[in-house]
Protein backbone atom coordinates (compact mmCIF):
# COMPACT_ATOMS: atom_id res chain seq x y z
CA UNK A 1 0.00 0.00 0.00
CA UNK A 2 1.31 3.45 -0.87
CA UNK A 3 2.04 6.06 1.78
CA UNK A 4 -0.86 8.18 0.57
CA UNK A 5 -3.32 5.32 0.91
CA UNK A 6 -2.03 4.60 4.39
CA UNK A 7 -2.45 8.21 5.39
CA UNK A 8 -6.04 8.07 4.18
CA UNK A 9 -6.69 5.21 6.57
CA UNK A 10 -8.12 1.80 5.80
CA UNK A 11 -9.83 1.65 2.43
CA UNK A 12 -13.07 -0.15 1.84
CA UNK A 13 -12.52 -3.52 0.14
CA UNK A 14 -14.57 -2.36 -2.81
CA UNK A 15 -12.48 0.71 -3.56
CA UNK A 16 -9.33 -1.30 -2.98
CA UNK A 17 -10.59 -3.85 -5.49
CA UNK A 18 -11.53 -1.15 -7.99
CA UNK A 19 -8.13 0.48 -7.64
CA UNK A 20 -6.40 -2.80 -8.46
CA UNK A 21 -8.87 -3.86 -11.13
CA UNK A 22 -8.71 -0.70 -13.24
CA UNK A 23 -4.91 -0.79 -13.40
CA UNK A 24 -5.09 -3.43 -16.10
CA UNK A 25 -6.60 -2.41 -19.40
CA UNK A 26 -7.60 -5.79 -20.81
CA UNK A 27 -10.12 -6.85 -18.12
CA UNK A 28 -11.67 -3.38 -18.30
CA UNK A 29 -12.13 -3.68 -22.05
CA UNK A 30 -13.51 -7.21 -21.56
CA UNK A 31 -15.96 -5.95 -18.95
CA UNK A 32 -17.04 -3.17 -21.30
CA UNK A 33 -17.55 -5.65 -24.11
CA UNK A 34 -19.70 -7.85 -21.87
CA UNK A 35 -21.78 -4.83 -20.89
CA UNK A 36 -22.31 -4.02 -24.59
CA UNK A 37 -23.29 -7.61 -25.39
CA UNK A 38 -25.73 -7.66 -22.47
CA UNK A 39 -27.26 -4.33 -23.50
CA UNK A 40 -27.58 -5.51 -27.11
CA UNK A 41 -29.35 -8.66 -25.93
CA UNK A 42 -31.67 -6.81 -23.56
CA UNK A 43 -32.60 -4.18 -26.14
CA UNK A 44 -32.66 -6.65 -29.05
CA UNK A 45 -36.13 -5.63 -30.27
CA UNK A 46 -34.94 -2.03 -30.71
CA UNK A 47 -31.40 -2.69 -31.94
CA UNK A 48 -31.91 -5.57 -34.36
CA UNK A 49 -32.70 -4.07 -37.78
CA UNK A 50 -34.85 -7.05 -38.85
CA UNK A 51 -37.21 -9.59 -37.36
CA UNK A 52 -34.90 -12.57 -36.57
CA UNK A 53 -37.52 -15.07 -37.72
CA UNK A 54 -38.88 -13.30 -40.79
CA UNK A 55 -37.91 -15.05 -44.03
CA UNK A 56 -37.13 -13.08 -47.18
CA UNK A 57 -37.03 -15.45 -50.12
CA UNK A 58 -35.87 -12.70 -52.47
CA UNK A 59 -32.64 -12.43 -50.47
CA UNK A 60 -31.46 -15.96 -49.74
CA UNK A 61 -27.83 -16.60 -48.71
CA UNK A 62 -26.89 -13.00 -49.51
CA UNK A 63 -23.41 -11.98 -48.44
CA UNK A 64 -22.73 -9.15 -46.00
CA UNK A 65 -23.90 -5.77 -47.27
CA UNK A 66 -24.90 -2.40 -45.87
CA UNK A 67 -28.49 -3.59 -45.60
CA UNK A 68 -27.68 -6.99 -44.10
CA UNK A 69 -24.47 -6.41 -42.11
CA UNK A 70 -23.77 -10.12 -41.64
CA UNK A 71 -25.65 -11.37 -44.70
CA UNK A 72 -28.73 -13.58 -44.74
CA UNK A 73 -29.26 -17.31 -44.23
CA UNK A 74 -31.02 -20.01 -46.27
CA UNK A 75 -34.41 -18.49 -45.55
CA UNK A 76 -33.20 -14.95 -46.15
CA UNK A 77 -33.28 -14.16 -42.43
CA UNK A 78 -30.92 -11.37 -41.36
CA UNK A 79 -27.97 -12.98 -39.57
CA UNK A 80 -26.95 -9.83 -37.70
CA UNK A 81 -30.42 -9.59 -36.15
CA UNK A 82 -30.38 -13.28 -35.34
CA UNK A 83 -27.04 -12.93 -33.58
CA UNK A 84 -28.36 -10.07 -31.44
CA UNK A 85 -31.45 -12.09 -30.51
CA UNK A 86 -29.30 -15.18 -30.04
CA UNK A 87 -27.33 -13.29 -27.41
CA UNK A 88 -30.44 -13.44 -25.23
CA UNK A 89 -30.40 -17.22 -25.36
CA UNK A 90 -26.66 -17.65 -24.83
CA UNK A 91 -26.37 -15.09 -22.06
CA UNK A 92 -29.39 -16.31 -20.16
CA UNK A 93 -28.19 -19.90 -20.39
CA UNK A 94 -24.75 -18.81 -19.21
CA UNK A 95 -25.94 -16.68 -16.31
CA UNK A 96 -28.90 -18.73 -15.11
CA UNK A 97 -27.07 -22.05 -15.18
CA UNK A 98 -23.96 -20.76 -13.46
CA UNK A 99 -25.92 -18.83 -10.82
CA UNK A 100 -28.07 -21.90 -10.11
CA UNK A 101 -25.01 -24.13 -9.86
CA UNK A 102 -23.08 -21.46 -7.97
CA UNK A 103 -25.87 -20.96 -5.44
CA UNK A 104 -26.20 -24.68 -4.75
CA UNK A 105 -22.43 -25.10 -4.68
CA UNK A 106 -21.83 -22.23 -2.26
CA UNK A 107 -24.51 -23.57 0.09
CA UNK A 108 -23.08 -27.07 -0.03
CA UNK A 109 -19.52 -25.82 0.39
CA UNK A 110 -20.42 -23.69 3.42
CA UNK A 111 -22.25 -26.54 5.13
CA UNK A 112 -19.54 -29.00 4.24
CA UNK A 113 -16.65 -26.84 5.40
CA UNK A 114 -18.37 -25.49 8.51
CA UNK A 115 -19.76 -28.70 9.94
CA UNK A 116 -17.07 -31.10 8.79
CA UNK A 117 -17.39 -34.74 9.83
CA UNK A 118 -19.52 -37.14 7.86
CA UNK A 119 -21.50 -34.31 6.22
CA UNK A 120 -18.26 -33.03 4.75
CA UNK A 121 -17.10 -36.48 3.66
CA UNK A 122 -20.43 -37.29 2.00
CA UNK A 123 -20.67 -33.92 0.26
CA UNK A 124 -17.13 -34.07 -1.06
CA UNK A 125 -17.45 -37.66 -2.29
CA UNK A 126 -20.60 -36.58 -4.10
CA UNK A 127 -18.66 -33.74 -5.71
CA UNK A 128 -15.83 -36.11 -6.62
CA UNK A 129 -18.28 -38.31 -8.48
CA UNK A 130 -19.79 -35.34 -10.33
CA UNK A 131 -16.36 -34.01 -11.18
CA UNK A 132 -15.38 -37.48 -12.35
CA UNK A 133 -17.45 -36.93 -15.48
CA UNK A 134 -16.40 -34.59 -18.26
CA UNK A 135 -18.87 -31.70 -18.11
CA UNK A 136 -20.31 -32.16 -21.55
CA UNK A 137 -20.87 -35.88 -20.97
CA UNK A 138 -22.79 -35.11 -17.80
CA UNK A 139 -24.77 -32.52 -19.71
CA UNK A 140 -25.58 -35.02 -22.45
CA UNK A 141 -26.68 -37.54 -19.82
CA UNK A 142 -29.00 -34.96 -18.27
CA UNK A 143 -30.36 -34.01 -21.70
CA UNK A 144 -30.83 -37.70 -22.48
CA UNK A 145 -33.02 -38.01 -19.39
CA UNK A 146 -34.94 -34.76 -19.68
CA UNK A 147 -35.01 -34.47 -23.46
CA UNK A 148 -33.37 -31.89 -25.75
CA UNK A 149 -34.15 -28.22 -25.24
CA UNK A 150 -32.57 -25.09 -23.90
CA UNK A 151 -34.08 -25.19 -20.40
CA UNK A 152 -32.78 -28.71 -19.87
CA UNK A 153 -29.35 -27.54 -21.00
CA UNK A 154 -29.52 -24.95 -18.21
CA UNK A 155 -30.15 -27.65 -15.59
CA UNK A 156 -27.45 -29.81 -17.11
CA UNK A 157 -24.83 -27.07 -16.89
CA UNK A 158 -25.96 -26.10 -13.41
CA UNK A 159 -25.38 -29.68 -12.28
CA UNK A 160 -21.79 -29.76 -13.39
CA UNK A 161 -21.02 -26.21 -12.22
CA UNK A 162 -22.14 -27.01 -8.70
CA UNK A 163 -19.19 -29.15 -7.48
CA UNK A 164 -16.67 -26.55 -8.67
CA UNK A 165 -18.18 -23.95 -6.34
CA UNK A 166 -18.73 -26.43 -3.53
CA UNK A 167 -15.05 -27.37 -3.46
CA UNK A 168 -13.86 -23.79 -3.69
CA UNK A 169 -16.13 -22.54 -0.92
CA UNK A 170 -15.43 -25.51 1.31
CA UNK A 171 -11.71 -24.80 1.03
CA UNK A 172 -12.01 -21.16 2.00
CA UNK A 173 -14.55 -21.97 4.74
CA UNK A 174 -12.04 -24.31 6.36
CA UNK A 175 -9.49 -21.52 6.35
CA UNK A 176 -11.91 -18.85 7.59
CA UNK A 177 -13.11 -21.06 10.45
CA UNK A 178 -9.65 -20.72 11.96
CA UNK A 179 -9.45 -16.93 11.71
CA UNK A 180 -9.42 -14.89 14.90
CA UNK A 181 -12.62 -13.00 14.14
CA UNK A 182 -14.61 -16.16 13.52
CA UNK A 183 -13.20 -17.77 16.65
CA UNK A 184 -13.99 -14.60 18.57
CA UNK A 185 -17.60 -14.45 17.33
CA UNK A 186 -17.97 -18.06 18.31
CA UNK A 187 -16.65 -17.44 21.78
CA UNK A 188 -19.16 -14.66 22.42
CA UNK A 189 -21.91 -17.05 21.40
CA UNK A 190 -22.94 -15.91 17.92
CA UNK A 191 -25.36 -18.47 16.57
CA UNK A 192 -24.24 -20.73 13.77
CA UNK A 193 -26.44 -19.39 11.01
CA UNK A 194 -25.55 -15.69 11.47
CA UNK A 195 -21.94 -16.69 12.01
CA UNK A 196 -21.76 -18.48 8.67
CA UNK A 197 -23.78 -15.89 6.77
CA UNK A 198 -22.14 -12.78 8.18
CA UNK A 199 -18.59 -13.81 8.92
CA UNK A 200 -17.70 -16.71 6.68
CA UNK A 201 -19.77 -16.27 3.51
CA UNK A 202 -18.39 -12.81 2.64
CA UNK A 203 -14.86 -14.14 2.92
CA UNK A 204 -15.55 -16.83 0.34
CA UNK A 205 -17.07 -14.42 -2.17
CA UNK A 206 -13.94 -13.17 -3.97
CA UNK A 207 -13.17 -16.67 -5.21
CA UNK A 208 -16.82 -17.26 -6.04
CA UNK A 209 -16.99 -14.08 -8.13
CA UNK A 210 -13.90 -15.04 -10.10
CA UNK A 211 -15.30 -18.48 -10.82
CA UNK A 212 -18.71 -17.07 -11.73
CA UNK A 213 -17.11 -15.09 -14.53
CA UNK A 214 -14.93 -17.95 -15.73
CA UNK A 215 -17.78 -20.45 -15.57
CA UNK A 216 -20.21 -18.23 -17.49
CA UNK A 217 -17.74 -18.36 -20.39
CA UNK A 218 -17.46 -22.14 -20.16
CA UNK A 219 -21.22 -22.52 -19.89
CA UNK A 220 -21.91 -20.43 -22.96
CA UNK A 221 -19.41 -22.57 -24.84
CA UNK A 222 -20.96 -25.82 -23.61
CA UNK A 223 -24.49 -24.64 -24.37
CA UNK A 224 -23.44 -23.63 -27.88
CA UNK A 225 -21.77 -27.03 -28.36
CA UNK A 226 -24.90 -28.86 -27.21
CA UNK A 227 -27.04 -26.78 -29.57
CA UNK A 228 -24.56 -27.44 -32.35
CA UNK A 229 -24.90 -31.21 -31.97
CA UNK A 230 -28.67 -30.83 -31.87
CA UNK A 231 -29.37 -31.36 -28.17
CA UNK A 232 -29.84 -27.75 -27.10
CA UNK A 233 -31.84 -24.96 -28.65
CA UNK A 234 -34.15 -26.30 -31.35
CA UNK A 235 -34.74 -24.57 -34.68
CA UNK A 236 -35.99 -22.00 -35.55
CA UNK A 237 -34.55 -20.53 -32.33
CA UNK A 238 -31.73 -18.07 -33.07
CA UNK A 239 -29.06 -19.61 -30.89
CA UNK A 240 -25.42 -19.16 -31.88
CA UNK A 241 -24.45 -22.86 -31.77
CA UNK A 242 -27.58 -23.85 -33.65
CA UNK A 243 -26.88 -21.16 -36.27
CA UNK A 244 -23.42 -22.63 -36.82
CA UNK A 245 -24.97 -26.06 -37.27
CA UNK A 246 -27.41 -24.62 -39.83
CA UNK A 247 -24.57 -23.01 -41.77
CA UNK A 248 -22.46 -26.17 -41.89
CA UNK A 249 -23.87 -27.38 -45.19
CA UNK A 250 -22.93 -24.13 -46.91
CA UNK A 251 -19.20 -24.16 -46.15
CA UNK A 252 -17.33 -22.69 -49.09
CA UNK A 253 -20.59 -21.46 -50.59
CA UNK A 254 -21.79 -19.00 -47.97
CA UNK A 255 -19.14 -18.75 -45.26
CA UNK A 256 -20.83 -15.84 -43.51
CA UNK A 257 -23.40 -18.32 -42.19
CA UNK A 258 -20.83 -19.85 -39.87
CA UNK A 259 -18.38 -16.96 -39.60
CA UNK A 260 -20.51 -14.44 -37.70
CA UNK A 261 -22.14 -16.76 -35.16
CA UNK A 262 -18.67 -18.22 -34.55
CA UNK A 263 -17.25 -14.77 -33.89
CA UNK A 264 -20.15 -14.02 -31.55
CA UNK A 265 -19.47 -17.11 -29.43
CA UNK A 266 -15.72 -16.59 -29.44
CA UNK A 267 -15.80 -12.91 -28.50
CA UNK A 268 -18.35 -13.42 -25.72
CA UNK A 269 -16.54 -16.37 -24.17
CA UNK A 270 -13.17 -14.63 -24.53
CA UNK A 271 -14.55 -11.52 -22.79
CA UNK A 272 -15.81 -13.56 -19.82
CA UNK A 273 -12.51 -15.43 -19.55
CA UNK A 274 -10.45 -12.22 -19.69
CA UNK A 275 -12.73 -10.57 -17.14
CA UNK A 276 -12.39 -13.61 -14.89
CA UNK A 277 -8.61 -13.49 -15.14
CA UNK A 278 -8.63 -9.77 -14.34
CA UNK A 279 -10.97 -10.25 -11.37
CA UNK A 280 -8.74 -12.99 -10.06
CA UNK A 281 -5.68 -10.77 -10.22
CA UNK A 282 -7.51 -7.91 -8.51
CA UNK A 283 -9.48 -9.84 -5.91
CA UNK A 284 -7.34 -12.59 -4.66
CA UNK A 285 -3.64 -13.02 -5.04
CA UNK A 286 -3.81 -16.58 -3.74
CA UNK A 287 -6.07 -17.67 -6.56
CA UNK A 288 -3.47 -16.63 -9.10
CA UNK A 289 -2.32 -19.42 -11.35
Amino acid sequence: MSAAAKAAGVQSPLSEFWRRFRRKRIPLVAGGAILLIILAAVFAPWIAPFDPAAPDYENVLAGPSLLHLAGTDVFGRDIFSRIIWGGRVSLSVGFVSVFLGGFAGVALGLVSGFFGGWVDTAAMRFCDVLLAFPGILLAIAVVAVLGPGISNVIYAIAVFSMPVFARLVRGSTLGLKQTVYVQASRSIGVRRFPLVMRHILPGTLPGVIVYLSLRVGTSILTAAALSFIGLGAQPPSAEWGAMLADGRSYLGVADHLTLFPGIAIFVTVLAFNLLGDGLRDALDQKLRT
Binding site: R125, D128, V129, A132, F133, P134, G135, I136, L137, I140, A141, V143, A144, V145, L146, P148, G217, L221, A224, A225, F228, I229, G230, L231, G241, L244, G247, R248, L251, G252, D255, T258, P261, G262, I265, F266, V269, L270, N273, L274, D277, R288, T289
Partner: protein, 306 residues
Protein backbone atom coordinates in the same frame (compact mmCIF):
# COMPACT_ATOMS: atom_id res chain seq x y z
CA UNK B 1 4.53 -47.37 -3.33
CA UNK B 2 2.69 -50.68 -3.14
CA UNK B 3 0.71 -49.54 -0.11
CA UNK B 4 -0.22 -46.37 -1.92
CA UNK B 5 -1.29 -48.32 -4.98
CA UNK B 6 -3.49 -50.66 -2.96
CA UNK B 7 -5.03 -47.81 -1.00
CA UNK B 8 -5.75 -45.91 -4.17
CA UNK B 9 -7.29 -48.97 -5.83
CA UNK B 10 -9.55 -49.55 -2.83
CA UNK B 11 -10.48 -45.87 -3.00
CA UNK B 12 -11.93 -46.25 -6.49
CA UNK B 13 -14.45 -48.85 -5.33
CA UNK B 14 -16.97 -46.36 -3.86
CA UNK B 15 -16.63 -44.22 -6.98
CA UNK B 16 -17.29 -47.23 -9.19
CA UNK B 17 -20.34 -48.15 -7.13
CA UNK B 18 -21.61 -44.56 -7.38
CA UNK B 19 -21.04 -44.59 -11.14
CA UNK B 20 -22.90 -47.87 -11.51
CA UNK B 21 -25.84 -46.54 -9.47
CA UNK B 22 -25.86 -43.40 -11.58
CA UNK B 23 -25.88 -45.36 -14.83
CA UNK B 24 -28.45 -47.78 -13.43
CA UNK B 25 -30.67 -44.96 -12.21
CA UNK B 26 -30.39 -43.13 -15.50
CA UNK B 27 -33.04 -45.07 -17.46
CA UNK B 28 -35.23 -45.32 -14.36
CA UNK B 29 -35.23 -41.56 -13.88
CA UNK B 30 -36.76 -40.97 -17.27
CA UNK B 31 -40.10 -39.23 -17.17
CA UNK B 32 -42.75 -41.60 -18.43
CA UNK B 33 -42.27 -45.28 -19.13
CA UNK B 34 -39.01 -46.01 -20.97
CA UNK B 35 -40.33 -49.40 -22.09
CA UNK B 36 -43.30 -47.66 -23.73
CA UNK B 37 -40.96 -45.13 -25.37
CA UNK B 38 -38.71 -47.82 -26.79
CA UNK B 39 -41.58 -50.04 -27.92
CA UNK B 40 -43.19 -47.17 -29.78
CA UNK B 41 -46.66 -45.63 -29.68
CA UNK B 42 -48.36 -48.47 -31.57
CA UNK B 43 -47.03 -51.29 -29.40
CA UNK B 44 -49.47 -53.64 -27.66
CA UNK B 45 -49.39 -54.19 -23.91
CA UNK B 46 -47.58 -57.49 -24.51
CA UNK B 47 -44.90 -55.77 -26.58
CA UNK B 48 -44.34 -53.19 -23.89
CA UNK B 49 -44.09 -55.92 -21.26
CA UNK B 50 -41.55 -57.78 -23.41
CA UNK B 51 -39.47 -54.64 -23.85
CA UNK B 52 -39.67 -54.00 -20.12
CA UNK B 53 -38.19 -57.42 -19.44
CA UNK B 54 -35.56 -56.91 -22.14
CA UNK B 55 -34.49 -53.58 -20.59
CA UNK B 56 -34.42 -55.19 -17.15
CA UNK B 57 -37.11 -52.88 -15.81
CA UNK B 58 -39.28 -55.56 -14.20
CA UNK B 59 -39.23 -56.61 -10.55
CA UNK B 60 -38.17 -54.70 -7.42
CA UNK B 61 -35.53 -52.00 -7.81
CA UNK B 62 -32.87 -53.75 -5.75
CA UNK B 63 -33.34 -56.96 -7.68
CA UNK B 64 -33.06 -54.97 -10.93
CA UNK B 65 -29.79 -53.46 -9.76
CA UNK B 66 -28.27 -56.79 -8.77
CA UNK B 67 -29.31 -58.27 -12.11
CA UNK B 68 -27.96 -55.24 -13.97
CA UNK B 69 -24.60 -55.43 -12.21
CA UNK B 70 -24.34 -59.18 -12.83
CA UNK B 71 -25.01 -58.73 -16.54
CA UNK B 72 -22.67 -55.76 -16.84
CA UNK B 73 -19.82 -57.57 -15.12
CA UNK B 74 -20.30 -60.44 -17.54
CA UNK B 75 -20.16 -57.98 -20.42
CA UNK B 76 -23.82 -58.41 -21.36
CA UNK B 77 -24.94 -54.90 -22.18
CA UNK B 78 -28.15 -55.73 -24.00
CA UNK B 79 -29.12 -54.96 -27.56
CA UNK B 80 -29.38 -51.66 -29.34
CA UNK B 81 -32.98 -50.61 -29.77
CA UNK B 82 -32.09 -49.15 -33.15
CA UNK B 83 -29.95 -51.76 -34.90
CA UNK B 84 -30.86 -54.81 -32.77
CA UNK B 85 -27.12 -55.57 -32.59
CA UNK B 86 -25.52 -56.40 -29.22
CA UNK B 87 -24.44 -53.12 -27.60
CA UNK B 88 -20.98 -54.50 -26.84
CA UNK B 89 -20.54 -55.12 -30.55
CA UNK B 90 -21.69 -51.62 -31.50
CA UNK B 91 -19.38 -49.99 -29.00
CA UNK B 92 -16.45 -52.25 -29.81
CA UNK B 93 -16.45 -51.12 -33.44
CA UNK B 94 -16.42 -47.47 -32.38
CA UNK B 95 -13.82 -47.70 -29.67
CA UNK B 96 -10.57 -47.60 -31.62
CA UNK B 97 -11.37 -44.57 -33.82
CA UNK B 98 -12.11 -42.51 -30.71
CA UNK B 99 -9.04 -43.80 -28.89
CA UNK B 100 -6.72 -42.95 -31.78
CA UNK B 101 -8.28 -39.55 -32.26
CA UNK B 102 -7.81 -38.79 -28.57
CA UNK B 103 -4.22 -39.99 -28.57
CA UNK B 104 -3.33 -38.00 -31.68
CA UNK B 105 -4.94 -34.87 -30.24
CA UNK B 106 -3.17 -35.29 -26.90
CA UNK B 107 0.21 -35.92 -28.55
CA UNK B 108 0.31 -32.62 -30.40
CA UNK B 109 -1.48 -30.70 -27.66
CA UNK B 110 1.09 -31.85 -25.12
CA UNK B 111 4.08 -31.06 -27.33
CA UNK B 112 2.75 -27.69 -28.39
CA UNK B 113 1.32 -26.72 -25.02
CA UNK B 114 4.52 -27.50 -23.13
CA UNK B 115 6.62 -25.69 -25.69
CA UNK B 116 4.53 -22.52 -25.57
CA UNK B 117 4.25 -22.72 -21.78
CA UNK B 118 7.99 -23.07 -21.25
CA UNK B 119 8.87 -20.34 -23.74
CA UNK B 120 6.35 -18.01 -22.08
CA UNK B 121 7.73 -18.90 -18.66
CA UNK B 122 11.35 -18.34 -19.63
CA UNK B 123 10.59 -15.12 -21.52
CA UNK B 124 8.18 -13.85 -18.89
CA UNK B 125 6.94 -10.33 -19.58
CA UNK B 126 8.43 -10.18 -23.08
CA UNK B 127 6.65 -10.43 -26.41
CA UNK B 128 7.07 -14.23 -26.59
CA UNK B 129 5.16 -14.50 -23.30
CA UNK B 130 2.42 -12.14 -24.43
CA UNK B 131 2.05 -13.89 -27.79
CA UNK B 132 1.93 -17.30 -26.13
CA UNK B 133 -0.67 -16.26 -23.59
CA UNK B 134 -2.85 -14.48 -26.15
CA UNK B 135 -2.84 -17.74 -28.10
CA UNK B 136 -3.67 -19.68 -24.96
CA UNK B 137 -6.63 -17.57 -23.81
CA UNK B 138 -7.96 -17.56 -27.37
CA UNK B 139 -7.59 -21.32 -27.54
CA UNK B 140 -9.59 -21.74 -24.33
CA UNK B 141 -12.35 -19.47 -25.59
CA UNK B 142 -12.54 -20.85 -29.13
CA UNK B 143 -15.54 -23.09 -29.84
CA UNK B 144 -14.03 -26.34 -31.10
CA UNK B 145 -16.85 -26.93 -33.56
CA UNK B 146 -16.25 -23.55 -35.17
CA UNK B 147 -12.51 -24.22 -35.39
CA UNK B 148 -13.33 -27.53 -37.08
CA UNK B 149 -15.58 -25.81 -39.61
CA UNK B 150 -12.97 -23.13 -40.33
CA UNK B 151 -10.29 -25.78 -40.90
CA UNK B 152 -12.58 -27.78 -43.18
CA UNK B 153 -13.43 -24.63 -45.09
CA UNK B 154 -9.78 -23.71 -45.62
CA UNK B 155 -7.96 -27.03 -46.05
CA UNK B 156 -10.67 -29.22 -47.54
CA UNK B 157 -13.13 -27.02 -49.41
CA UNK B 158 -10.81 -24.27 -50.67
CA UNK B 159 -7.39 -25.88 -50.90
CA UNK B 160 -8.54 -29.46 -51.27
CA UNK B 161 -5.53 -30.80 -49.38
CA UNK B 162 -7.28 -32.84 -46.73
CA UNK B 163 -10.52 -34.84 -46.52
CA UNK B 164 -13.55 -33.11 -44.99
CA UNK B 165 -14.22 -35.97 -42.64
CA UNK B 166 -14.53 -39.71 -42.15
CA UNK B 167 -12.06 -42.25 -40.86
CA UNK B 168 -9.06 -43.54 -42.78
CA UNK B 169 -5.33 -42.92 -43.26
CA UNK B 170 -3.30 -40.21 -41.54
CA UNK B 171 -4.74 -37.42 -43.68
CA UNK B 172 -8.09 -38.02 -41.99
CA UNK B 173 -6.50 -37.45 -38.61
CA UNK B 174 -4.92 -34.05 -39.21
CA UNK B 175 -7.92 -31.72 -38.96
CA UNK B 176 -9.91 -33.57 -36.26
CA UNK B 177 -6.92 -33.93 -33.97
CA UNK B 178 -5.97 -30.26 -34.36
CA UNK B 179 -9.56 -29.28 -33.60
CA UNK B 180 -9.82 -31.56 -30.58
CA UNK B 181 -6.38 -30.74 -29.22
CA UNK B 182 -6.48 -26.95 -29.51
CA UNK B 183 -8.31 -26.34 -26.24
CA UNK B 184 -6.10 -28.76 -24.34
CA UNK B 185 -2.93 -27.27 -25.81
CA UNK B 186 -4.12 -23.86 -24.58
CA UNK B 187 -4.89 -25.11 -21.07
CA UNK B 188 -1.55 -26.90 -20.85
CA UNK B 189 0.36 -23.84 -22.10
CA UNK B 190 -1.19 -21.64 -19.41
CA UNK B 191 -0.72 -24.23 -16.74
CA UNK B 192 2.89 -25.00 -17.66
CA UNK B 193 3.72 -21.31 -17.67
CA UNK B 194 2.27 -20.71 -14.22
CA UNK B 195 3.94 -23.83 -12.79
CA UNK B 196 7.20 -22.69 -14.34
CA UNK B 197 6.88 -19.17 -12.94
CA UNK B 198 6.04 -20.54 -9.51
CA UNK B 199 9.06 -22.83 -9.42
CA UNK B 200 11.30 -20.01 -10.70
CA UNK B 201 10.65 -18.20 -7.42
CA UNK B 202 11.85 -21.15 -5.31
CA UNK B 203 14.95 -20.83 -3.20
CA UNK B 204 16.75 -23.70 -4.89
CA UNK B 205 16.47 -22.00 -8.26
CA UNK B 206 17.97 -18.84 -6.83
CA UNK B 207 20.68 -20.92 -5.15
CA UNK B 208 21.47 -22.65 -8.43
CA UNK B 209 21.82 -19.30 -10.16
CA UNK B 210 23.90 -17.93 -7.29
CA UNK B 211 26.36 -20.76 -7.38
CA UNK B 212 26.88 -20.15 -11.09
CA UNK B 213 24.93 -22.97 -12.73
CA UNK B 214 24.59 -22.16 -16.46
CA UNK B 215 21.18 -20.64 -17.30
CA UNK B 216 20.30 -23.52 -19.59
CA UNK B 217 20.83 -26.00 -16.76
CA UNK B 218 18.79 -23.83 -14.38
CA UNK B 219 15.90 -23.86 -16.82
CA UNK B 220 16.01 -27.49 -17.79
CA UNK B 221 17.13 -29.24 -14.66
CA UNK B 222 16.08 -27.13 -11.73
CA UNK B 223 12.98 -25.33 -12.94
CA UNK B 224 11.36 -27.39 -15.68
CA UNK B 225 11.69 -30.75 -13.98
CA UNK B 226 9.95 -29.51 -10.88
CA UNK B 227 7.40 -27.51 -12.82
CA UNK B 228 6.39 -30.62 -14.74
CA UNK B 229 5.09 -32.40 -11.62
CA UNK B 230 1.74 -30.60 -11.51
CA UNK B 231 1.64 -30.64 -15.32
CA UNK B 232 1.48 -34.45 -15.20
CA UNK B 233 -1.76 -34.29 -13.23
CA UNK B 234 -3.19 -31.63 -15.47
CA UNK B 235 -2.37 -33.64 -18.59
CA UNK B 236 -4.16 -36.67 -17.22
CA UNK B 237 -7.22 -34.65 -16.32
CA UNK B 238 -7.23 -33.17 -19.80
CA UNK B 239 -7.63 -36.68 -21.22
CA UNK B 240 -11.07 -36.66 -19.69
CA UNK B 241 -11.74 -33.32 -21.31
CA UNK B 242 -10.68 -34.81 -24.66
CA UNK B 243 -13.16 -37.65 -24.19
CA UNK B 244 -15.90 -35.06 -23.74
CA UNK B 245 -14.61 -32.90 -26.57
CA UNK B 246 -14.47 -35.85 -28.94
CA UNK B 247 -18.28 -35.99 -28.81
CA UNK B 248 -18.48 -32.61 -30.51
CA UNK B 249 -15.50 -33.00 -32.83
CA UNK B 250 -16.70 -36.38 -34.08
CA UNK B 251 -19.96 -34.74 -35.07
CA UNK B 252 -18.12 -32.08 -37.06
CA UNK B 253 -15.91 -34.55 -38.92
CA UNK B 254 -18.36 -37.47 -39.26
CA UNK B 255 -15.91 -39.57 -37.27
CA UNK B 256 -17.24 -43.10 -36.64
CA UNK B 257 -16.43 -43.03 -32.92
CA UNK B 258 -18.08 -43.35 -29.54
CA UNK B 259 -19.06 -39.69 -29.37
CA UNK B 260 -21.15 -39.76 -32.50
CA UNK B 261 -22.69 -43.04 -31.45
CA UNK B 262 -23.72 -41.34 -28.20
CA UNK B 263 -25.32 -38.40 -29.99
CA UNK B 264 -27.11 -40.70 -32.42
CA UNK B 265 -28.43 -42.83 -29.58
CA UNK B 266 -29.59 -39.81 -27.60
CA UNK B 267 -31.53 -38.51 -30.60
CA UNK B 268 -32.92 -42.01 -31.20
CA UNK B 269 -33.60 -42.66 -27.51
CA UNK B 270 -31.58 -45.85 -27.77
CA UNK B 271 -31.32 -46.37 -24.02
CA UNK B 272 -29.23 -49.56 -23.87
CA UNK B 273 -26.54 -47.86 -25.96
CA UNK B 274 -26.67 -44.58 -24.01
CA UNK B 275 -26.45 -46.46 -20.74
CA UNK B 276 -23.47 -48.53 -21.88
CA UNK B 277 -21.72 -45.49 -23.32
CA UNK B 278 -22.07 -43.43 -20.16
CA UNK B 279 -20.76 -46.39 -18.20
CA UNK B 280 -17.81 -46.76 -20.56
CA UNK B 281 -16.94 -43.06 -20.53
CA UNK B 282 -17.12 -43.00 -16.73
CA UNK B 283 -14.94 -46.08 -16.39
CA UNK B 284 -12.38 -44.52 -18.70
CA UNK B 285 -12.44 -41.40 -16.63
CA UNK B 286 -12.02 -43.27 -13.34
CA UNK B 287 -9.17 -45.22 -14.90
CA UNK B 288 -7.48 -42.04 -16.12
CA UNK B 289 -7.74 -40.47 -12.66
CA UNK B 290 -6.22 -43.61 -11.18
CA UNK B 291 -3.31 -43.58 -13.62
CA UNK B 292 -2.77 -39.86 -13.00
CA UNK B 293 -2.62 -40.36 -9.24
CA UNK B 294 -0.21 -43.26 -9.52
CA UNK B 295 1.97 -41.35 -11.96
CA UNK B 296 1.87 -38.35 -9.67
CA UNK B 297 2.98 -40.44 -6.71
CA UNK B 298 5.72 -41.83 -8.89
CA UNK B 299 7.18 -38.44 -9.79
CA UNK B 300 6.51 -36.85 -6.41
CA UNK B 301 7.60 -38.97 -3.42
CA UNK B 302 5.89 -36.62 -0.94
CA UNK B 303 2.47 -37.87 -2.01
CA UNK B 304 3.01 -41.56 -1.49
CA UNK B 305 4.56 -41.06 1.93
CA UNK B 306 1.57 -39.13 3.23
Amino acid sequence: MLVFLIRRLVGTVPVLVAVSIFVFGFVRLLPGDPARLVAGPDATAQDVAAVRIELGLDGPLLQQYVRYMGQTLRGELGRSAKTRQPVAHEIGARFMPTLWLTVAAMAWALAFGLLVGVISGVRRGRWQDHAGMVMAISGISFPSFWLGLLLIDLFSVRLGWLPTGGYGDWTHFVLPSITLGAGVAAVLARFTRSAFVEVSAEDYVRTARAKGVPERMVVWKHTLRNALIPVVTMTGLQFGFLLGGSIVVETVFSWPGLGRLLIDSVSFRDYPVIQAEILLFSLEFVLINLIVDVLYAFVNPEIRLK
